[in-house]
């Protein structure tokens, strides 16, 4: 026992370098000769190192605990910690992902909204009367001065509104939409040659949004016999239709098809027509492929492409019937026959051009 203690003392001194040179030499010889001594030296060395590491780390931890005590951890964690609200946390952690998701949802909603608009057609109706820009109008009236015959009446004020109309009779009765000429102070009808004629309102029908004008101008020469007729029945969905109108200062032709036999919100006095129209097309005739008039372009649904409404020809006739027949002149009332029956589309349009007028309205 005593020897053991002394041996351990010597090993420690040896490891700590406290032995004299001679003693160390003698001890190393002992280690070489006695493996059990050597083993004890090695294990003791490992053990002492572990103990010293332990001591060093313990001391460090002690110092760090001391430093830690100086920190106001609660205040810090309130400042740095996650927000108590779950939602805010989610937001902070997933900003990017949520951003993508949100934009996707927005996009989907926008798409759904537009699809709904398209399918249910709950949009409002825009009347196709154009408000003419003043600059544009002053230019066009200049052009017309050159083209027109000398004695036409001059109205220096530019027109406020414009629409389209077409001849009902050869002697100057013209049909247009009521909303085109409503509240007008004066109305001017312009033919395809640029001649302007004064016109007055003969009849209005607010139920069908129709108005009948009479050209009251000395310069007006009666038209040749109307080549077209009103077709009041037999219009089917899918029928090809055309229109001529004045969304600008020259006649514009458009083509489409009957998409529904009822109009806005199921209005049975109108057709729904898939045809591109613009402000200024109001009052324009809707023709079938043989040149028969089947309706009057009156409105389109806003925010929906290609949903245009046209008052059925039947109601043109009805409005026409309210006018005493003697004032229309018996001979000039609508043709029973369509002389354009077998003409090509471009020929029909060419012929029709003579009977379609631009309506200018001054308020």
């Amino acid at each position: 026992m005593r020897n053991e203690i002394e041996l351990e003392g010597i090993i420690e001194d040896y490891l700590n370098g406290k032995l004299t040179e001679g003693e160390a030499k003698a001890f190393e010889e002992l280690r070489l000769n006695d493996p059990s001594v050597d083993h004890r030296v090695v294990t003791h060395k490992v053990f002492l190192e572990s103990l010293q590491d332990y001591a060093a780390i313990s001391e460090l931890k002690h110092k760090m605990d001391h430093a830690h005590a100086q920190i106001d951890v609660d205040a810090l964690s309130r400042k740095l910690g996650p927000h108590p609200s779950f939602v805010v946390n989610i937001w902070r952690k997933n900003k990017a992902a949520l951003g993508v998701a949100a934009s996707f949802i927005l996009l989907t909603m926008a798409m759904l909204y537009s699809i709904q608009q398209n399918t249910q057609q709950i949009g409002s109706v825009e009347l196709m009367r154009s408000e003419l820009g003043k600059i544009k109008n002053s230019q066009s009236s200049l052009i017309r001065k050159i083209n027109s015959t000398a004695s036409e009446p001059k109205n220096e004020r530019p027109a406020n509104y414009g629409g389209t109309g077409f001849a009902l009779t050869a002697n100057g009765y013209v049909l247009t939409n009521l909303h085109v000429i409503k509240d007008a102070e004066s109305i001017t009808v312009v033919d395809n040659n640029g001649n302007s004629y004064k016109a007055r309102v003969i009849r209005t029908d607010s139920q069908y949004d129709l108005a009948i004008l009479k050209i009251a101008d000395d310069n007006f020469t009666p038209l040749s016999n109307l080549p077209y007729r009103l077709k009041q029945n037999g219009v089917a969905m899918g029928d090809e239709v055309y229109t001529l109108g004045f969304p600008k200062d020259d006649a514009v032709f458009n083509q489409g098809y009957v998409s529904s036999k009822t109009g806005y919100n199921g209005d049975s006095t109108q057709y729904q027509v898939s045809i591109p129209v613009n402000p200024g097309n109001s009052g324009g005739p809707l023709l079938d492929q043989h040149g028969n008039i089947i309706g009057v372009i009156s409105a389109r649904q806003s925010q929906v492409d290609g949903a245009t409404f046209a008052v059925k020809a039947k109601y043109i006739q009805e409005t026409l019937n309210t006018i005493p027949s003697d004032s229309l002149g018996k001979k000039q009332v609508f043709n029973k026959r369509n002389s354009m029956q077998n003409l090509s589309k471009s020929k029909i349009i060419q012929k029709f051009d003579d009977y379609v007028f631009m309506i200018k309205v001054y308020k």
């Binding site: 294990t43 590491d53 332990y54 931890k61 920190i71």
Partner: protein, 188 residues
Amino acid sequence: MSNKLSSSVPTDREVVLGILNNSEDALNKLYTGYFPMVLQFILNNNGDEDDAKDVYQEGIIVLYNKIKGGNFELSSKLKTYIYSVCRRIWLKKLAQQSRKTSNIADFEDVIATEDDVEQHEEKDLQFEKMQAALLHLGEPCKTIIQDFYINNLSMQDICEKFGYTNTDNAKTQKYKCLQRLKKIFFQT
């Protein structure tokens, strides 16, 4: 640059020199300087204040051992190093507790510290072994061993402190204690 900044976070050079010189002041500055950064990371990644303290202290120990080991090269900012080490330690702990670790919220740059953390884990194992062995040893052996080997008291001091009649008795007692401690330590 500004006074406030330099007082709250010591320069990297200050820290390394302070650690090499065993400066307690440098340790305090280092500790208080970077604790908020680690606290923020732990709190926002499924941990609490105690977790932050444990992880941060382990991180500082890794830094200490690295600097004391003499093979410390400042290849990055000290801040980045501490953050990366603590991050690694915490993510390992989370994995061990099989807590959720998806979607780590990071606040600083991260560099590779796997080797350092692994070395530390081995050392930490030794530390815990020694701690457990000492605890198991019981009094008065534990204090005698600590006084002699850690606090570097002489046999004479220990003899007086524990009231042994002579140093030989104290030496015998210390020897017995050490044998028992070694046995426990190497057994486990």
